[in-house]
Amino acid sequence: MAEPLRHRALGLTDEKVLEMYRYMVLTRALDERMWLLNRAGKIPFVISCQGQEAAQAGAGFALDRERDWLCPYYRDLCLVLIWGHTARTELLAAFAKAEDPNSGGRQMPGHYGDRKLRILTGSSPVGTQIPHAVGVALAAKMRGENTVCYVSFGEGTSNQGDFHEALNFAGVHRLPVIFFCENNRYAISVPEQKQLACANVADRAPGYGFEGVIVDGMDALEVYRAVKQAADKARAGGGPTLIEAKTYRLAPHSSDDDDRTYRSREEVEEARRGDGIARMKAYLMDAGLLDEAEDEQLRQRIRAEIDEATEYAERAPYADPATLTRYVYAEEGWADGR
């Protein structure tokens, strides 16, 4: 029984690994709730992270929540929950309510951002966040701060010019940044073989003079290991790492998509069997850290939390239409305290 000790070998306490699992379960439940709300006509749009929770949980726990920076992408629900957002904040975003900390209901859900948590505001055009992360890392290097900037994106996005320009920039200056590709095999309908001319996104790293790492994105602990190593290296002045987590997008691209037009149900079912949450649960049970009853309790607590959050978010007010024209520029008296 060597397997069950993996998390300890990685320096993760039993508590931590259970917490990790809790975030994964919370994320999935919250994501599923959003689909229900969408199908019930209560929220106009969902973009889903189902299948990518393990990758995000592994990454999130390997970073330092007190000082590191995130430039996430729209599927990083689990990651931002680990970073301090909650079912409530994300449901506020899903309902487009004024209290949504990401954008006050201005952006679609999944467009994360929170200055006090060092989650840099994101947009929809894919890949634009990658040079931003390099800029954050450049500032850290210039000021001699020991922070790491983490940026994530899909495999389709790794073809955008901004990916290339940013990775090269970071490579030249050996900046403390982790490029994390969540390869979920599809960019909307386009499968990776039609998207990428290379077998792995990680194969691109040598073109930027640093290491590329491929990791099983359905295995949170393996992802933890890879991201921890990359973060340690970055903090030691060793520069960037490109990590490719092999995952699978279990849900359609978004609530506007119909994935039956481009992939078979068998393929999706096959992928579902490797789901990272089920694997983590099995691991914890093997390790004697979790039993079915505890798992059920956990899920009940999460359901309650989500119910409460849903109710809150649904009732919360929309932004006053009079706020439409605010914050185009800094307003009189605005001080950023920088």
Partner: protein
């Protein structure tokens, strides 16, 4: 005449042009197997094959850049940008390259590409799936820019764009896709680029608009007609080159001009329309030229309150008509 949805008119015109001329091909993200995220190209890959309806990697600059190269080699590419908001990574290829190829080569090379992009709001698209980007391109010599409002014009202008020897940006308003239905001539005649169209005759004031604005103006004109205000409506259809003659004629017709567009106001297409009139028909005016346009915010919010506050409305247009009629 067949009655079609706006989106059907585009789909059918694409299919007919592809059948008519085998040099025509489509490229873009999700245009093939998926038939486009809006389903504009649905069924075309089955019909014309993988390469004539090519699913590209997620790279807008390459989509346009590859189209330019293919056009130089004799093909006629119709590039789809999934949302107009995402045309920005391709701006260098469009403005530095496509727009200047004929000029810089002294008429040796040319660049007969079409770039199609769904634009506009009112569909819960929030900041980055609702933008109007036409004014970034109407300033650029070497480009042509069209923005049809009706199914007939959508079909006819697409045909013209495909047959045009120069690069044409074709902006289709998302909200019109499935909300507007109209007659489309079977004959498949192109609608010439550069010609505006009077969509309603009137005598009290002139509305100059395009895209969704045409439909808002038509409805609003009905509203105020009941109150005795007679509105003349000019649909620009082509935003570059502007149909100066039609604009000046429409302005002179009533002496009162209201310009309406969803795009932001400052330095928008309406500014040029107004400046044209102020330059060439100033003394025919009985009222200041008014522009009713998107507010000066980066784009429209996701919250329904914010989206509504951003969007033009029939009531808002009618109100502006009344104010101008009273002037």
């Amino acid at each position: 005449m067949a009655v079609k949805l706006y989106i059907e008119a585009i789909h059918d015109a694409l299919a007919e042009e592809m059948a008519r001329d085998e040099r025509v091909f489509i490229l873009g993200e999700d245009v093939g197997v998926r038939g486009g995220v809006f389903r504009v190209t649905q069924g075309l890959q089955e019909r014309f094959g993988e390469y004539r309806v090519l699913d590209t990697p997620l790279t807008e600059s390459a989509i346009v850049g590859v189209a330019i190269g293919a056009s130089a080699a004799g093909l006629i590419p119709v590039a789809e940008i999934q949302f107009a908001d995402f045309i920005l990574p391709a701006v260098n290829q469009i403005i530095s390259e496509a727009a200047k190829i004929r000029y810089r080569s002294n008429n040796d090379w040319h660049c007969p590409i079409v770039v199609r992009a769904p634009y506009g709001g009112g569909v819960h698209g929030a900041l980055y799936h609702s933008q109007s980007v036409e004014a970034l391109f109407t300033h650029v010599p070497g480009l042509k820019v069209v923005a049809p409002a009706t199914p007939a014009d959508a079909a006819g202008l697409l045909r013209s764009a495909i047959r045009d020897p120069d690069p044409v940006l074709y902006f289709e308003h998302k909200k019109l896709y499935r909300s507007v239905r109209g007659e489309v001539p079977e004959a498949g005649e192109p609608v010439p680029i550069g010609h505006a169209k009077v969509q309603r005759e009137g005598s009290d004031l002139t509305v100059i608009t395009y895209g969704l604005g045409v439909h808002l103006a038509l409805e609003a004109a009905e509203q105020v007609a009941a109150e005795g205000v007679s509105v003349h409506i000019l649909d620009l259809r082509t935003l570059r080159p502007l149909d100066e003659e039609a604009i000046l004629e429409a302005a002179r017709r009533t002496g009162k001009v209201l310009i309406v567009h969803e795009d932001n106001k400052v330095c928008g297409v309406g500014a040029e329309v107004s400046a044209l009139i102020a330059e060439h028909a100033l003394f025919d005016l009985d009222a200041p030229i008014r522009r009713l346009a998107g507010p000066e915010v980066p784009a429209m919010g996701y919250a329904p309150t914010l989206e509504k506050a951003y969007m033009l409305s029939v009531d808002g247009v009618a109100e502006a008509m009344r104010a101008m009629a009273r002037f």
